[in-house]
């Protein structure tokens, strides 16, 4: 292993390590597994560095490698990503038109009052189909096209899953806040 290659890799990966670790924490949901996953992903990235096109988005490339490492691990452990029961969703017409955004809710208060653990719990409760695009987009800062490449999904699917992921997250946070007795509805005059 040449010193130059090692230095180049360190320089490329250093600015993204915190975000990558945050991503692994939310995938693996505990620190030892997250560290293990990150190390595995970084090892694969280092081994595959020759395949990285200089001048392209390194962050997207390394997030993609980590995502693949996670999917391989899930498969190896015979744990399939949480399945979405498509028949359990509302009927087509209401699914197209219904939008879960309640203008009566004081969302500012909800987001201010919920604690970090509740946000993490709401995120962890999302099926992988929704959690992965949301993490790659929000935490990883990847463009829709890059998320689509990382997850091998059509662009339109990524967009609809992001939309639904945010809807579900919003609903969960509002429920957590209401359960703790926080007034989530704006007082009407």
């Amino acid at each position: 292993m040449s010193e130059a290659k090692r230095s180049e890799f360190e320089a490329l990966v250093a600015p993204h390590l915190d975000a990558l670790f945050g991503y692994c924490m939310r995938l693996a949901r505990n620190q030892p597994d997250a560290e293990d996953l990150l190390q595995e992903g970084l090892y694969k990235a280092f081994r595959g560095l020759a395949g990285f096109e200089r001048g392209t988005h390194f962050r997207a490339w390394v997030f993609r490698i980590l995502t693949n490492a996670w999917i391989s691990r899930v498969r190896k452990e015979q744990r399939r990503p949480t399945a979405v029961d498509l028949d359990a969703v509302p009927d087509v017409e209401s699914a197209v038109h219904q939008e879960v955004y309640d203008a009566e809710t004081n969302w500012g208060a909800v987001y201010h009052e919920v604690v970090d653990d509740e946000v993490k719990q709401a995120l962890d409760e999302l099926p992988d189909e929704f959690r992965l695009p949301l993490l790659l987009s929000s935490l990883g800062g990847l463009r829709y096209k890059e998320v689509a490449q990382a997850l091998d999904l059509p662009l339109g699917t990524v967009m609809s899953r992001l939309f639904r992921a945010r809807q579900k997250l919003r609903r969960s946070l509002r429920d957590y806040a209401a359960e703790r007795g926080i007034p989530v509805t704006e007082a009407t005059s």
């Binding site: 390590l17 915190d18 970084l42 087509v92 939008e99 987001y111 997250l169 946070l173």
Partner: protein
Amino acid sequence: MNCAEFRDLLSPFLDSELEVDQNVACLKHVELCAPCARRVSDERQLHTRLVDAIQHPLTPEARAGLLAGVFARVEAEDASPPPPAAPHNGRWLLALTLLAALVAGGAWFVRSDPLCLWGCSTHDLLLQAQVRMQEPPRPLDEVEQEIHRTVDYPELVGGRVSGCQTLVSEGCPCHPLVRFTLPDSNEICYVSLPGGHAHVGSERELPDGRRYVVGDGELRFVGWKCGDGSLKVCMPTPCSKLTDSKLFLLAAALRGS
């Protein structure tokens, strides 16, 4: 831009994924519309709240240890001798791999449109359906007697079955096409084909994750793939005045019944 149009673009607007002109239009709308401006503010707060909650900065020691672990693993692997070459002759393995790829490719091709086996295609039959819809319908029982089987079709509440037709290509199995007349006198047809969707339209996904297929170019239809691989299709008559959204809802109703 009105509020509904803005809401359609909200996610890509927040994620800075819009083209410049669309972005400018959204910015103008937000400037003039207080409820949408508030919605944008709420969505941005959600994003910030999410990112803040899931940050996990690594300590300097953890960062150093992580990279050191990666480099140590690489060095250890590079220092160890390569594994001995496999004693078997690789030609058999290559031949078997090629054979498996050939079989898998053939299976995929047939699965994507099983009608190809009979020398026609789903696309051909749907084109033929458009032509048949211009002819007078035949009584359902007459067609059933001719093909010696019952024609299965879903109920369409508010519509009535106005007749039936058959789709036949040389050497191809016969497929009945059921025609429905709607209260507004427009007509649609329903047909179930064993083919896949690869050559006839584009597969799309609803916000709820369910998939459907829409026709491309000369073929106008809304369809859906079933678990058995069949493609159920809802088509308007060539002179129908049905809007795309109405057709979509009719197809959804047929699917749900």
